[in-house]
């Protein structure tokens, strides 16, 4: 099953759900589903900035497994980090996200 994650809430979803659950499972190849993409809203975008340790780990896994990482453009502009993201991580909105995932569309889009 292919899934995409939208990190939309501020419930420790990045530091906890991604950082302590999803990411370690992906690193250990035992997540249980094929993750094709992750999209980040609001403050969750800070994980995508260049010096973020969790972001660096996430980018390494994403590169290895072909997972799309994308930040919400408005959210990144609002935080003035749009041009400070990890190398190769784009910003965009839903049309960009769906276009990027069109080659490997997810079976489920899960909002966290």
């Amino acid at each position: 099953m292919k899934v995409a994650y939208l990190f939309a809430t501020s419930r420790h979803t990045v530091s906890y759900v991604l950082g302590r659950m999803i990411l370690p499972q992906l690193e250990e190849d035992r997540h249980g589903a094929e993750v094709v993409g992750m999209f980040f809203f609001e403050d969750n975008n800070y994980v995508l900035t260049r010096d973020n340790p969790l972001g660096k780990r996430l980018k390494a896994v994403a590169d290895a497994k072909g997972i799309l990482l994308m930040g919400c453009d408005q959210c990144c502009y609002e935080r003035e980090i749009a041009d400070q993201l990890l190398e190769g991580v784009p910003i965009g909105c839903f049309p960009d996200l769906y276009a990027a995932l069109s080659g490997s569309p997810p079976d489920q889009v899960i909002t966290l």
Binding site: Q74, Y77, A82, D83, I91, C93, P95, D96, A99
Partner: protein, 134 residues
Amino acid sequence: MNGIGHKRQRAPKRRTVIEYFERALQRSGRPQLPLIGPLERGPGGLAVCFSLNLVAGRIRGAEFKATTCTTLLAYCELLAELIMGLTPTEARRLDTGRLIDGLPGVPPTLHNRAGLPIAALTSALAQHSAEESK
């Protein structure tokens, strides 16, 4: 004032991308100005149309309609501010580099979105020239 008594055009205050975007959103619902340029289309379904008001040979009003891409709207808003008070000839000299320099927070992968507002403005000005020569 310069030596021949004309006011120098002040450079617009430097704003962030999101500030330009929010200013662009405030134009929603405003009527178009008399000189309506053609709709210029770009990749990904993006489109821009500029309308202008010229008084005594200078641009005194600019409005635009554009698809709701944050980056595109910010570039359109910056361009609309830059052309105020310019003659059509002066406005034609503005290029994508000017827009890119004016919005340093846009990542390089999205610099290409500056092309569409320039194209739309160029079309509107070309239409004005064509009508003037009739």
